[in-house]
């Protein structure tokens, strides 16, 4: 080996698993999702409805307790179609490009909810287009219980 050969050392297939706390509000969301219900939460002061639900309204700095059901329909707030391949740090696998990446304003919500968006009818994808959640066959109380959103004719 010449003296300049090893300029790079690979880290190998090291893995570092994590256990992420979802919190009380997130847990309630995921349990409701098993019944195909999408929950938001309303600020008692500014009345803004947040999805996903969280404990505190940041701008008002008020604790929120009032869960409200939102969706499962809504409109596309903005979106893109991912066309370049990259590694998903959560799985180590390549992302399934191309895929639709949508920010959906669910009916009754004020914030956007990001999820996959079906691109099989690409020409129907527009900001303001109405969409609906398509649920997975098996509901496990995970974000993947929603397969994706698709445009409604």
């Amino acid at each position: 080996m010449s003296k300049l050969e090893r300029l790079i050392m690979k880290s190998g297939d090291a893995q570092q698993p994590f256990n992420y706390a979802v919190g009380m509000h997130g847990s309630k969301f995921f349990n409701a999702l098993k019944d195909k219900k999408i929950l938001g939460i309303k600020c008692p002061k500014c009345s803004k409805v947040y999805v996903p639900p969280r404990r505190v309204c940041g701008p008002c700095y008020e604790e929120m307790n009032k869960f409200v059901e939102v969706g499962p329909q809504g409109v596309i707030g903005t979106f893109t179609i991912l066309r370049y391949a990259f590694i998903d740090p959560g799985t180590g696998e390549r992302k399934p490009v191309p895929y639709g990446y949508g920010f959906v304003r669910l009916d009754g919500a004020d914030t956007l909810f990001q999820h996959y968006i079906d691109i099989s009818k690409e020409s129907s994808l527009k900001i303001g287009a109405r969409v609906e959640a398509v649920f997975a066959d098996q509901l496990k109380g995970m974000i993947t219980d929603i397969k994706h959103f698709r445009t409604i004719d």
Binding site: G26, I81, R83, F86, D88, Y101, L112, Q114
Partner: protein, 387 residues
Amino acid sequence: MGKKRVAIVGTGQTHHKSHRPDVNGQELINEAVQRALEDADLTIHDIEAVIIGNMDHFEGINYVDCWSVDGSGGTMKPIIKLTTGGTTGSTLAIGGYHMVASGMFKKVLVIGWEKNSESDTTGAITTAFDAVWDRQVYAGAISGLAAEAKSYMDQYGATNKDAARVVVRDRKHACNNPYAQLRKEVTIEEVLNSPMLSDPVHLLDICPRTDGACAVIMACEDVAEKITDRLDWIWAAANRHTYTYLGDATYGHLDSLTRASQEVYTKTGITEPRKQIDVIELYQPYSFAGIMWIESLGLAELGKGAEYIWSGATDMGGELPINPSGGVIGCNPIGATGLIRCAEIALQVTGKADARQVPDVNLAISTGFGGCFWSDIILHGKNKPDY
């Protein structure tokens, strides 16, 4: 206890490249530090404290404040690490400004760096976002920026061609900058014909990934004028960060930059930034930002950013040149990028910018941008601020 005025007395940066396998982190940092010390004609013994930062997840090693001391010169000195995502470099500059302005440190060394070649940039950026809610569909910086551009285009009718004009400007400017990574001009057609990464963002619309470091030395007014007579005075700085989940952001308006720039303008009495500012180094990681964010800075009315770009006003020789260095489109070592904007403006204000010099710079702006639409802004001046 009065606030001290603060000036930049020296800057240094590496020749930024896509890969620097010939140096490790502390060696890369050292190159920038040595150049900054040389520029200020100081030694490391003159430095009282070090403030350093990057985004740990790109290299997968934490605590650069500790392991880099051989390179940074921080051995047995007070060191603070700051990291705020894409804004890291500009936050470092603002942190250094605060440290010196406090009167507690007379000379502070500010260092930003990154070795983006050491990991998958998009995968690593994704780990900055919420594991439960945001990571599943998120695809790094490009996806969020693409969604922003899409929203802006829908509201104001901007086109891909408008964005490409920004790339043509920055790539042309980068040819004048020996430190830039991408030093080759491109045409509008080349931008439009480059591969689509994430609609509407093409490959040539977006910044590259880079290995690089930048160092800036700040000094308080009591000592700055003794070090050099070529001073870049910091007039004001502001930052606004907002983010819980990606869906909470406003797509199409950079509210954080609007608010931060308003604070700086109000503090310093700037009422017509287009006329009063002489040059801007905008943290502009992709082309569309060059249209949208100049509106947030108050340089053009909402929806009129593209018109201002096409007028040539932001080209070298124009009314208000933007990114004489080639900007972030020319190189992007992420933890250094915001500090490079600050250093480049220091060069402009002190007349050291060589081939990329804008004549007669009196007031200038550098900015930082990060993650979920955060903004930092610094107003620099040739004269000592009189407040």
